[in-house]
């Protein structure tokens, strides 16, 4: 359970990103945060695992005030909170397996990670979480050779290897194409059904409405809407975005998308191999310029 009590966040330049946020998220919820760019969605998410410091208020994650923690205690708390990024933030040069094992960092001391000492159980856990997303055969492939959707799944597997109680997702599907978006969102739903709370920033209201169990609207650093997906009407979007959304700003009828298509697009080799080769060829030119 996550409780935010009177949270204020002020950036060093005096800009007030969050003001008096009060929020309670129960275990097992799938919360989507929607709002304009710069409304404070990312700041809100990053405050929960203390990537940003807050200036006033409390953030309680399972009763522990994370805003008061420092050093070791903070790191121990962070390993219970997985995080997914818009640009995946994988270690591009390392293999997928190493990327996923990196999720166990919080459970080890510096010496053990320096020499890559992980227990057998952890290695098994990493491979299992890769298998859950259907990319086990890519375990020894370098992370930058995968497609966008696969990279986001690696990031999901990394978060899952942490054995978290909560996953924070900062615009997880913003850099993916529509079909991959749906399959990654299905993965999120599957994780949610395992009993992990998910808080995600969303750009598309339709996606948020379809996949989440609760929607929070943020505007100018304040929560202006908090309710079920069914309650998001035109009036509510007007409240959040300043005007109601046009039809061309929606994804369309996403329920029509066949599940089989969204389940795994990793089986279309012609689509995926081409960009990987191109990036390989482009790399040496950079080196030559230097």
């Amino acid at each position: 359970m996550i409780e935010l009590k009177h949270v204020d966040k002020i950036y060093p330049n005096g800009y007030k990103a969050l003001s008096d946020i009060n929020l309670t998220v129960k275990d097992g919820e799938f919360v989507s945060i929607i709002g304009l760019s710069g409304a404070g969605k990312s700041t809100l998410i990053r405050c929960i695992n203390r990537m940003h410091d807050i200036q006033a208020g409390q953030i309680l994650v399972d009763g522990v005030d994370i805003s008061r923690l420092h050093g070791k205690a903070l790191r121990a708390e962070r390993r219970n909170i997985g995080m997914i990024f818009q640009s995946f933030n994988l270690i591009k040069r390392a293999s997928v397996y190493k990327n996923v094992l990196a999720g166990r960092v919080g459970y080890h001391n510096t010496f053990e990670t320096l020499f890559g000492i992980y227990s057998k159980k952890e290695r098994l856990l990493a491979l299992q979480s890769l298998d859950k997303f259907g990319i086990l055969d890519k375990a020894y492939v370098r992370a930058d050779q995968l497609s966008g959707g696969q990279q986001q799944r690696v990031a999901l597997a990394r978060a899952l290897t942490q054995e978290p109680k909560l996953i924070l997702a900062d615009e997880p599907v913003a850099s993916l194409d529509p079909v991959t978006t749906l399959s990654v969102m299905n993965d999120f739903t599957r994780i949610n059904k395992m009993g992990i709370t998910i808080i995600a920033n969303m750009h598309h209201v339709d996606l948020a409405k379809k996949f989440s169990t609760r929607i929070i609207g943020v505007r100018a650093g304040q929560i202006v809407f908090d309710g079920k997906p069914e309650d998001v009407t035109d009036e509510v979007t007007k409240l959040i975005y300043g005007r109601s959304l046009n039809n061309n700003e929606k994804l369309g009828n996403i329920d029509d998308t066949p599940e089989a298509l969204s389940e795994d697009i990793g089986k279309a080799p012609t689509l995926e191999k081409a960009p990987a080769k191109a990036s390989n060829k482009a790399a040496p030119k950079k080196a030559l310029k230097k």
Partner: protein, 328 residues
């Protein structure tokens, strides 16, 4: 206890700043700066007028501000002035052209057997091979060991110097200052100081001199490379609960490693080429032999000694280029 909200704290700070700006002292002390900055602002922005109307009749004139690169202009002027000043005291007429002599004699003499020294072509190659296996290989071993030592020391140093890894300026700045100082002192002085401790002509002082030289090159190139890297993996590991050392090791090191090897070989190549410094430490070997041969006028020996150097440096250059390209 009085509760102070963060907003109030910021407001108080701003109020204090405003009071200072209104004080008599500030107004008197700041006038040259105010005038200079006003003048700079005036000349640094140029307003371009554009006519956006369809008929071009001047009915819709807009102004677009454009910054003049004043600093660039000043640098350019300084460059040209220095260039002109250079030509005033220097006299270029003191040259005595010897192209014919150079091509017909000097270069050719290096690579042809001389009747009193190497005698035959086979003798020339034999001398070259002998030097390659003895004094040159010793030089290579010393340079290799020194470069390995210097590069290993450089690993923590370049992470400490990189601004995006070491955020704390109190740690970063002294390390950088020390290294800059190390690079400022000419190499032969450091070599001399090392040879005072470890005795002149010892192998240890030669290795240490090369190590210090390599450290200077490695840390500079590596930390500049690290500062161009993306910090996203670093951030991801931090969100998994890693400390700074773990973040650097897992998130950043895989990106840095290939460049480390490429620069390692590049540094080794520089070291072999710049191995003249070893003669300052009294390292009796390749450089000593070379100098001796030049002094005696045995130019076929000199050429035979230079050939392995050329080949090894070319090979190292090729390897470092290939590595930098492949590993990226």
């Amino acid at each position: 206890m009085k509760q102070v909200t963060p907003e109030q704290r910021i407001q108080e700070k701003q109020a204090r700043k405003a009071a200072f700006h209104a004080s008599k002292f500030y107004q008197i002390a700041s006038w040259p700066f105010v005038h200079i900055s006003a003048f700079y602002k005036k000349i640094s922005v140029q307003h371009i007028k554009v006519d956006l109307s369809e008929a071009q009749d001047g009915s819709l004139i807009r102004e677009i501000p454009r910054k003049r690169p004043i600093g660039l202009y000043l640098a350019l002027i300084a460059f040209i002035v220095i260039l002109i000043i250079c030509f005033i005291p220097l006299n270029f007429r003191d040259v005595n052209w010897k192209w014919d002599y150079f091509w017909n004699d000097e270069i050719v003499r290096l690579f042809t057997p001389f009747k009193y020294r190497t005698k035959t072509i086979a003798g020339w190659w034999a001398y070259s091979w002998k030097k390659f296996t003895t004094s040159f290989s010793h030089l290579f071993y010393v340079c290799f060991l020194g470069t390995v030592l210097g590069s290993l020391i450089a690993i923590p140093v370049y992470y400490l110097c990189a601004q995006n890894v070491t955020r704390n300026a109190l740690i970063r700045t002294p390390v950088r200052l020390f290294n800059d100082l190390l690079r400022t002192i000419p190499m032969f002085i450091i070599g001399y100081m090392i040879s005072l401790i470890f005795s002149t002509g010892s192998t240890i002082s030669a290795v240490l001199t090369v190590a210090v030289f390599s450290l200077g090159i490695m840390y500079q190139m590596m930390f500049e490379y690290i500062e161009t890297l993306e910090m996203s993996p670093f951030e991801a590991i931090r969100s998994c609960g890693g400390n700074n050392l773990q973040c650097t090791n897992i998130g950043l090191h895989p990106e840095v490693k290939p460049m480390f090897f490429a620069y390692f070989i590049y540094t080794l190549e520089i070291n072999i080429r710049a191995s003249v410094i070893l003669s300052y430490v009294g390292f009796q070997g390749y450089v000593y032999d070379l100098q001796n041969n030049i002094d005696q006028g045995w130019y076929d020996y000199v050429g035979a000694m230079l050939l392995p150097l050329l080949l090894v440096v070319a090979a190292l250059q090729f390897i470092s280029n290939t590595l930098a390209r492949r590993l990226r």
